[in-house]
Structure formats: structure tokens, C-alpha cells
């Protein structure tokens, strides 16, 4: 297997990109993602209108998806082994304050363990 050189830290499925496109159209602007940890809705990415969540020095920008930034708390990133994340959507309403990814859909981040070849673009 060839060694990966510069992996993008955050990539997205077509379904996630389509959800982002619809959110942008509905909200009139980009959204932002922050990976969460802990408690009920933990370990899912929270999605807000861009600028809603105050980014601090503790947060790392993993990358952008179609102009929408994706952040993670540096401490979480270290504990989670600085892996690549695949942004996807799944059935069910989001929890806490996150925007949905469409009707009865929420965003999820999937880890490489679960990423199938060809799933992302």
C-alpha cells in the first residue's frame, strides 16, 4: 500500500455536500462545523451559521468543505489521534443546538475505520 502523504483532515460525502448546499441556500450564507465530544450528543459535529460559535485559540481548523470551515478542539484532536474525518449525514434529528442536515437528518463524522473506498470526494 502506498504511504499517504498529505491527507486532507476533513472530507465530505456527496450527501453532506448537498446538505451544506441546501443549508447555505436556506440560511443565506455558509455554515461552520465544530466537532463535539461528551454526553448525549457528543462525538457528532455541531453545525451552526458561520460566526455563531466563537472560535478560540484551543481550536484547530481542520479544513473547509465548500467554503464552510470545520474545527476541532486541539485536546480532542490529540485524544482522538488526529485522524481524518469524513463528514456525512445520517437519519434522525440533530441534538442540542446543531442545525439539521435536512429533514430528519443530522451530520455525523465517520472515522477512517468506517470509511469505504470511494465514499468520499
Amino acid at each position: 500500500m502506498p504511504e499517504p502523504i498529505m491527507l486532507a483532515r476533513i472530507i465530505a460525502t456527496p450527501a453532506a455536500r448537498e446538505a451544506i448546499r441546501l443549508l447555505r441556500a436556506a440560511g443565506g450564507g455558509p455554515v461552520m462545523f465544530i466537532q463535539s465530544g461528551g454526553c448525549c450528543a457528543g462525538s457528532t459535529p455541531m453545525c451552526f451559521p458561520v460566526g455563531e460559535f466563537l472560535i478560540g485559540d484551543i481550536d484547530i481548523l481542520l479544513g473547509e468543505i465548500d467554503g464552510c470551515p470545520f474545527y476541532i478542539d486541539k485536546r480532542l484532536d490529540e485524544a482522538w489521534h488526529q485522524e481524518q474525518f469524513l463528514l456525512d449525514v445520517a437519519t434522525g434529528e440533530p441534538e442540542d443546538f446543531s442545525l439539521p442536515a435536512g429533514d430528519n437528518l443530522h451530520f455525523v463524522t465517520v472515522s477512517p475505520a468506517c470509511i469505504l473506498p470511494g465514499a468520499a470526494n
Binding site: S36, C40, L54, A113
Partner: protein, 507 residues
């Protein structure tokens, strides 16, 4: 025994086709007339419909709370305590009904709601009724003729946002101190569990002054900010995940109001070799203490989800635990024999499955479980059941570092006390911990050394009113479940009074 599901013929829980918001002592339809289905996790079928509220409804609830706050805030502690005790009595009288409603909506076994959730709520309201009566101001003689008087005054109207894992008990944890201190509340239940608190309001509406508690249901993305960032609240309290916790604190900072946030954990449960010194009740209790990771399906912020076992007893102790885990009865949450119910939602069970995959991929060994469960009964074929699972690995693995919120235990070994403490504290979280040993000195030193707000010592998952609960590190800021909460829900008024007739002489 098996309870009949709410709404079905013969059930002790009546179900209306739809539920409105509870605002100002009345049931008010949501402004935009939208509703959403509320599902039972055991069957994935609908229970009822609840209001899909919008920010206008939050404003109506705040109007009602503000209209009530002066009278409630000025009521004597005696009168407020009477109301809290009347709430407790009403809950107690309807204990079985509320236990069944809570079990069916959340999926938690009814044996737990009958034994823990609902009795603890009752006790919680009584505890804060008593605490309010016993509260005293303080005065200090700063100088002979200069006296500082301190009075506690209510904050006013508070916003409270509760999680899905203990919908009624967490409501009680937040409401009882807020009301005892003289505040009115607007409370938003979690999206997956909006209904049981509405059954609670039906139960207590006759003893509650209008506007003191107002319940608004709906998605957090639409009404969460409308409440938490609202300039008309004087405090916000939240239980949930870290990012929304930070957002809540950000809103509180912008409004210059206090906040309490409780944000999860990855709690270590430590078993020293002396637990195996005798084959007795205590050893049996310790085995149960490990298996408590499956309590409430693991959907507990303090789930003892990391078991640390001293290496020289690992094989024998774990064998006993695995035998106990293998005997867990999974099924209909309304059967009093059931020990493990379905996860709360499709989202949760998907997350749990993916974490077990992550664990396998990182080299963790699946000692038991590891997949979705099927349980007896055709009606439960679509329920969100997951097998009680144990993964063996090391503390650097993601399944040891991330909160899974399911019946999944990560287990590892340690060599000595220093090693146990290092592993216990190697986490971002600091909410709970467990220490099991027959050695009192060791228990004390470990308990003080662990960076967590609650260290259960030779017990776990007990939540009596009067024992302060809250997080260190990223598990949150603030405490609940203790009379100190009266301070957290009060302003301090100081009257500094001079009884001297002499001028200062400066001007």
C-alpha cells in the same frame, strides 16, 4: 410484571393525541401550529405528537415567567417550600404512572425508573424545600457601628435545558433549586424526550402557581438559542455535549449572566486486588459495580465506561463480571425483569455501532457483545437494542477516550496505585470515578487524587440529594444536587449600614 405501553388499553398512562407547550399554567398551542412525532425507542413507533416550537413560543414562555417572578420571588421560604413539597407529594402519588411514561419514552427499564428516577425526583424536591427553609442570611460586624447584612435574592427568570438520558430527574435537579431560591423557569426538554415532562406538568399543574415553570418543546437549533441567548433570562443551565456547552457559556458571557454546564465524562472505575481477598458480599457488590456501566443503557454522563482492574486479579475478577454481563436480561423496558432497554434513538445506536468498529480497528478485543441485539417480541424488532459489550484494550485507544454513551465498557489493567491514578486521570473529562478497595487509606488517597467531581467509593451510580455533583476539566462548570445550588440560583444583596452619627471627615 409487565406494564401496558402508554396509550394502549389498560395502561396506567393516558396519552393525548398531541401535547401543547405548558406556559403560564395553561396548555398553549405553538404559534406556528407545527407538531412533531415523539417515538418510543423500544418499537420505533409513535407515542404522541408534541409542539414543534419556534422562538415566538419561547418569548411567550418568558412573558409568563416574568409575569410570575415578582410574586414567586417575594413569597416566603415557607410558602415556596409548601409548593415544592406539594410537587413532591403529587409526583409520589403518581410515581408508577410517571415511571412507566419515562421508561416508554426513553427506553430505560422500568425497574430503574421505579427504583431510582422517580423516587429521587420526589426526594429532590423535598430536599430543596427543606434547604430553602433552613437558608439564612449572614451579618458581619465590620466595625462596632458598621454592619454588613447579606440577603439572598432570586435571580428572576432562568433558562434550563435538559438532556434525554434522565428527562424527569434532570428536570428535577434543575427546577428544584431554581424554584427553592425564588426563580421562575423556562425549561426546554431534549428533542428525543419531550413528553414525560409534559406528563409531569399534568401531574403538578394544580399545585403550581401559573408561570413558575414553563415548558417549551422543539428542536435546539430553532429554540435553543432563543432561550439561552435571550436577554430576558438571568441564568442559563445546560446539560449536554461540549460544543453546545461552550456556546451556552458564550451566550451567557454576551449577556453577562451566570451559567451552569454539565458536559459528559469518561469515568474510570478502579478495582484493586484486595476486592478479591474474600468471596463475600463485598466482592459481589464490586462485580455489580463494574456491570453498572450498563445502567440506563450506558446513557449516563457518569457511566463507568473505563474499568481499570489490577493485573493480578484481572482474569478471575473479569470472569465473574463477564458471567454477570452474560446474564443481563434485555427486552421490553416495561417488564420489571428487564435490566437493559433500547438506546434512546436511531442516532445513538448508530454511534455506538461505529465506536465498536473503531475499537476493533484499533485492536481492542471484544470480550462480549459487540453488535445490535434482537430481543423477544415481534413489536421490538425495530427497537434500538445493543448488546452489553466489553472491549479490552489500552487507555490510549479512542474507545477509552471518547464518550460512547452506550452499554460499552472499555477495560484495561494496572500494576499499582500510581499506575491506576495515572490511567484514571489520563482523560479530558473529570465528572465521575469509582474506587473499589477494602483499604480505607488507599481509597482516600485515590479519591483525592482523581481529578473528578464525584468519586464513588465502594459504590457507584448513587445520586442522593445532598451529594454535590459536577465536573472537573472539560466535564463542565458548576455543581448540582446540593444546597449550594441555592447560592448558584441567587443574587447576594449586601446592605452595608452605618450606625455611627459621625461624618467621615473627608469633605
Amino acid at each position: 410484571m409487565k406494564y401496558v405501553p402508554p396509550g394502549q388499553s389498560g395502561s396506567i398512562v393516558s396519552v393525548e393525541p398531541r401535547y401543547e407547550n405548558f406556559i403560564g399554567g395553561k396548555w398553549l398551542a405553538p404559534t406556528h401550529g407545527k407538531y412533531r412525532a415523539d417515538l418510543a425507542p423500544a418499537t420505533a413507533g409513535p407515542i404522541t405528537e408534541v409542539a414543534h416550537s419556534t422562538p415566538e413560543d419561547v418569548e411567550l414562555a418568558l412573558d409568563a415567567a416574568h409575569a410570575a417572578k415578582d410574586a414567586w420571588g417575594e413569597a416566603s421560604a415557607t410558602d415556596r417550600a409548601k409548593v415544592l413539597n406539594a410537587i413532591a407529594d403529587a409526583i409520589e402519588k403518581n410515581q408508577e404512572m410517571l415511571a412507566v411514561a419515562e421508561s416508554w419514552e426513553n427506553g430505560k427499564p422500568v425497574r430503574e425508573t421505579l427504583a431510582a428516577d422517580i423516587p429521587l425526583m420526589v426526594d429532590h424536591f423535598r430536599y430543596f424545600a427543606a434547604a430553602a427553609r433552613a437558608e439564612e442570611g449572614r451579618s458581619t460586624e465590620i466595625e462596632k457601628d458598621l454592619i454588613a447584612y447579606h440577603f439572598k435574592e432570586p435571580l428572576g427568570v432562568v433558562g434550563q435545558i435538559i438532556p434525554f438520558n434522565f428527562p424527569l430527574l434532570m428536570a428535577a435537579w434543575k427546577l428544584a433549586p431554581a424554584l427553592a431560591a425564588g426563580n421562575c423557569s423556562v425549561i426546554k426538554p431534549a428533542s428525543p424526550t419531550p413528553w414525560s415532562i409534559l406528563k409531569l406538568m399534568e401531574t403538578i399543574e394544580d399545585v403550581l402557581p401559573p408561570g413558575v415553570i414553563n415548558v417549551v418543546t422543539g428542536p435546539g437549533a430553532e429554540i435553543g438559542k432563543a432561550l439561552a441567548a435571550n436577554p430576558r433570562i438571568a441564568k442559563v443551565s445546560f446539560t449536554g455535549e461540549t460544543v453546545t456547552g461552550r456556546l451556552i457559556m458564550q451566550y451567557a458571557a454576551q449577556n453577562l449572566i451566570p451559567s451552569t454546564v454539565e458536559l459528559g465524562g469518561k469515568s474510570p472505575n478502579i478495582f484493586f486486588n484486595d476486592v478479591m481477598a474474600h468471596d463475600d458480599d463485598f466482592l459481589d457488590k464490586a462485580v455489580e459495580g463494574l456491570v453498572l456501566y450498563a445502567f440506563n443503557k450506558g446513557e449516563v454522563c457518569t457511566c463507568p465506561s473505563r474499568a481499570l482492574i489490577q493485573a493480578d486479579i484481572y482474569d478471575e475478577f473479569m470472569a465473574r463480571c463477564l458471567a454477570r454481563i452474560a446474564s443481563i436480561r434485555q427486552g421490553n423496558p416495561l417488564d420489571t425483569d428487564t435490566q437493559l432497554g433500547p438506546q434512546v434513538s436511531a442516532q445513538q445506536i448508530e454511534k455506538i455501532s461505529s465506536y465498536v468498529d473503531i475499537g476493533r480497528n484499533e485492536g481492542a478485543e471484544v470480550l462480549i457483545g459487540g453488535q445490535r441485539a434482537s430481543v423477544d417480541g415481534a413489536e421490538f424488532a425495530d427497537g434500538y437494542y445493543y448488546q452489553p459489550t466489553v472491549l479490552k484494550g489500552d487507555n490510549k485507544m479512542r474507545v477509552f477516550q471518547e464518550e460512547i454513551f452506550g452499554p460499552v465498557l472499555a477495560v484495561t489493567t494496572f500494576t499499582d496505585d500510581a499506575d491506576a491514578l495515572a490511567i484514571a486521570n489520563d482523560t479530558l473529562y473529570g465528572l465521575g470515578a469509582g474506587v473499589w478497595t477494602r483499604d480505607g487509606t488507599r481509597a482516600y488517597k485515590m479519591g483525592r487524587g482523581i481529578k473528578a467531581g464525584r468519586v464513588w467509593t465502594n459504590c457507584y451510580h448513587q445520586y442522593p440529594a445532598g451529594a454535590a455533583f459536577g465536573g472537573y476539566k472539560i466535564s463542565g462548570v458548576g455543581r448540582e444536587n446540593h444546597r449550594m445550588m441555592l447560592d448558584h440560583y441567587s443574587q447576594t444583596k449586601n446592605l452595608l449600614v452605618s450606625y455611627s452619627t459621625k461624618p467621615l471627615g473627608l469633605f
